[in-house]
Assembly symmetry: C2
Homo-oligomer: 452 residues x 2
């Protein structure tokens, strides 16, 4: 029975027979034997295999084993006399399962740029950095579930195909069968698109189950070819009944700290790689975020601080205008040097569903800004008053008749409720230090690119 290399390196069953299965990362020959580094994806570290020339397929096969080949190795685990690893596997048998022609296999032993690796998207998880991203992303996703399930939240699978455009931004992909043009009706009876947010539907469930979350893919048909944009990305959106903006902010802070602590504990080896090669000081930065209280200021105060800053910004700071990325980063990176929750934005720049404050000018919105990323979380207390919500819809050009189901949530048993959206890729970027969002999702979808 094969065991995973992660377990071999953890348990170190020295003196025992061990069989592992994986892929060759490198091979180095000396006079009488070969060192072969095997990786099986379970962890960053390779297992060093010693293949003696006495093995029956040594001359013919093992001595020619190429990077990328797959093997099953049987042997005895011993303490390693060399530096760099505690144990090594002395092979008694090496089965070569699948070859990898070194003339054509693109992943030879050298550093490849992330740009190049994007072109071989289907092979890049076989590299150290992208493999580490995969493990960290998987762990973060699991930690999201652990956090909410431990707190009694219900996960709701909100729909991907929808006829509601929550943000009203007109950037929805359209969905069709392709048969509409030949005169068939719309499959869903009306025009439908890919969701930009599960929030409105999550509210349905919050108003029935109390605390819920939705975690899944969302979409933007936005023609932005930048290191920050994807056409398809994952979003986490909790929604809590009987919760106001303060409660919302506290859960967001608790969540972020939980996720960072979880991944530092459970992905220590991968995090050390990022700290060393991708963003120096990364681990310290995350520990800092965990240790300190987040700053909380109002939008109005943020504008005042930015005006006083004296820094030259590309975009002018002005009450009533949205904060630009440069402003957000100034607040979290220069002024406070920690995550900052900015709340109570002007109503005029926020969507209809955010709760109007008593001043009649601002809404109970919240953005959480983190150093290096800017906005990582955006949320609000929702408008729970039927008449106010209807007025806000009309003001922003949305037909209330189209959202009668959503208004019903205010007609029948309305309660104060709040929620937020966490861009999952931005979180993975923040945690790994990866500069381009295309490196933190397995199969990035961007303008002109969906190769498989």
């Amino acid at each position: 029975m094969d065991i995973r290399i992660k377990k071999v390196l953890q348990d170190q069953p020295v003196g025992q027979r061990v069989a592992v299965a994986g892929w060759v990362r490198t091979r180095r020959d000396t006079g009488g034997f070969s060192f072969i580094e095997i990786n099986d994806g379970s962890c960053l570290a390779n297992l060093q295999v010693i293949a003696d020339k006495g093995l029956e397929n040594y001359q013919q096969d093992i001595k020619n084993l190429a990077t990328g080949s797959s093997v099953v190795v049987d042997g005895e685990l011993r303490k390693s006399p060399a530096k760099g690893q505690a144990v090594e596997l002395h092979a008694t048998k090496i089965d070569i399962v699948g070859g990898a022609d070194s003339e054509t296999y693109p992943l030879q032993k050298k550093r490849h740029s992330f740009e190049f690796l994007r072109e071989i998207n289907h092979l890049r998880p076989r590299t150290n950095a992208l493999g580490a991203v995969s493990r960290v992303r998987s762990r973060l996703g699991y930690a999201v579930h652990n956090f909410f399930q431990q707190r009694g939240f219900i996960q709701v699978h909100t729909p991907i195909i929808t006829t509601s455009d929550c943000e009203g931004a007109g950037e929805m992909f359209q969905v069709s069968t392709g048969r509409e043009r030949s005169g068939e009706d719309h499959f869903f009876g009306r025009s439908a698109g890919l969701t930009v947010s599960g929030q409105l539907q999550a509210e349905v469930y919050a108003l029935a189950m109390g605390d819920v979350y939705t975690f899944g893919p969302t979409f933007r048909a936005e023609n932005s070819n930048t290191s920050r944009h994807l056409a398809e990305f994952w979003m986490l959106e909790p929604e809590m009944a009987f919760c106001d903006l303060d409660g919302n902010r506290k859960i967001a802070e608790e969540l972020l700290k939980y996720l960072l602590a979880d991944v530092l504990e459970n992905c220590a080896e991968d995090m050390a790689l990022f700290d060393k090669f991708i963003e120096k000081g990364l681990i310290g930065k995350l520990q800092d975020v965990i240790a300190k209280d987040f700053i909380h200021i109002s939008y109005t105060e943020a504008v005042e601080r930015l005006e006083k800053a004296g820094d030259k910004f590309e975009y002018a700071v002005r009450w009533g205008a949205d904060l630009q990325s440069e402003h957000e980063r100034y607040l979290s990176e220069k002024l406070f040097r920690c995550p900052v929750a900015v709340t109570d934005y002007p109503a005029s720049i926020k969507p209809f569903y955010m709760r109007l404050n008593d001043d009649g000018k601002t809404v109970a919105a919240m953005d959480i800004l983190v150093p290096g990323i800017g906005e990582i979380i955006g949320g609000s207390q929702r408008e729970d008053r039927l008449e106010v919500l209807q007025s806000r819809m009309i003001e922003t050009g949305i037909d209330p008749a189209e959202y009668d189901w959503y208004l019903d949530l205010r007609r029948y048993g309305s309660v104060p409720h709040a929620g937020f959206g966490l861009g999952f890729e931005r979180l993975v970027q923040f945690v790994t230090g990866m500069a381009n969002i295309r490196e933190v999702i397995p199969f990035p979808r961007t303008p002109g690119s969906a190769p498989c």
Copy 2:
């Protein structure tokens, strides 16, 4: 600080002050006080509140509290003298948060048909049955993650928008920006659609990380208006490197048993509801599945058994034809009365990616059939030999050049690997006994219907 009703009923802090927040299910008045049943979605059971006429808003508000209204109740928890509940909350204060006009609120105190509830999709999670389904679905989703994460699997978020049609069935929804008709190019540079399966992309990660799973929405643009079909549904797809059909089958069986045991333990109250009102004997059926080994027969043997059965089938049984639902149900419901894994189907009726057996006629496919549902899992060992895979592609009319990335997985470090797909809604149906698939997904998408 409010606490959830589930916790009140579990901990029963008798004699203590308790505040809960939720929705009124029913109100019953006697001479001097009212009984109010409150539900907050955290569990099936309501908390009984005793509201004395001495409360200041009793005459004006509490005595008129309608079903569906939202309230915050402060009071003292006491032992209940009556049957039906262990504790009750003696209110010292009841805040009415949101009303619900009993003239128009559709969920009055009576049984509603599931057909009717589908028409008020945004309110139906407020009913006992649909609330219970929501909790069970959420728990099952979490149990999926627990199962795989405990076993070292990496979760991979495979893409929703794709240019690969894994099943080649031509039932993909098309994705566009809606601007193509006005002469703009395709957003992704070529025609793209909604995934029918994450398998091919999961294979990319299995061949790098070892054991992986993808769990997300998948789509079929199939014009089927039945109780078994959805246009959007969730699928769980594990994929394991260095794994053959036997290993695949064992993991599938272990997974199903784990999920059933988990939900019986963690959703006991909800499961009792289903057992009582939806499918009598449900819990016993699930316990049976957990206790017994699954039956394993080959497709060829299944055909022989069906031919011998003497039962009249609508569709004739014939080696080379796919098993119909009636055949699958005969096997699991009548012949074996337990889950059955059928393996090694004719190559001619299975997709190109399944591994050709040595007989040259069958492939290493596997379907797991369960009583009442039929096929709940479908999987295979994948074709890992480059030349055989290329031939199979050409045979089935697929252009190998379109799948060069997929073929690379066989060119470089190919290994035996296998995986399967579990239809998550079918699982929830099996676990809850719900007859129509539209009741087990929060927002069903079907021909002519995507109301929000």
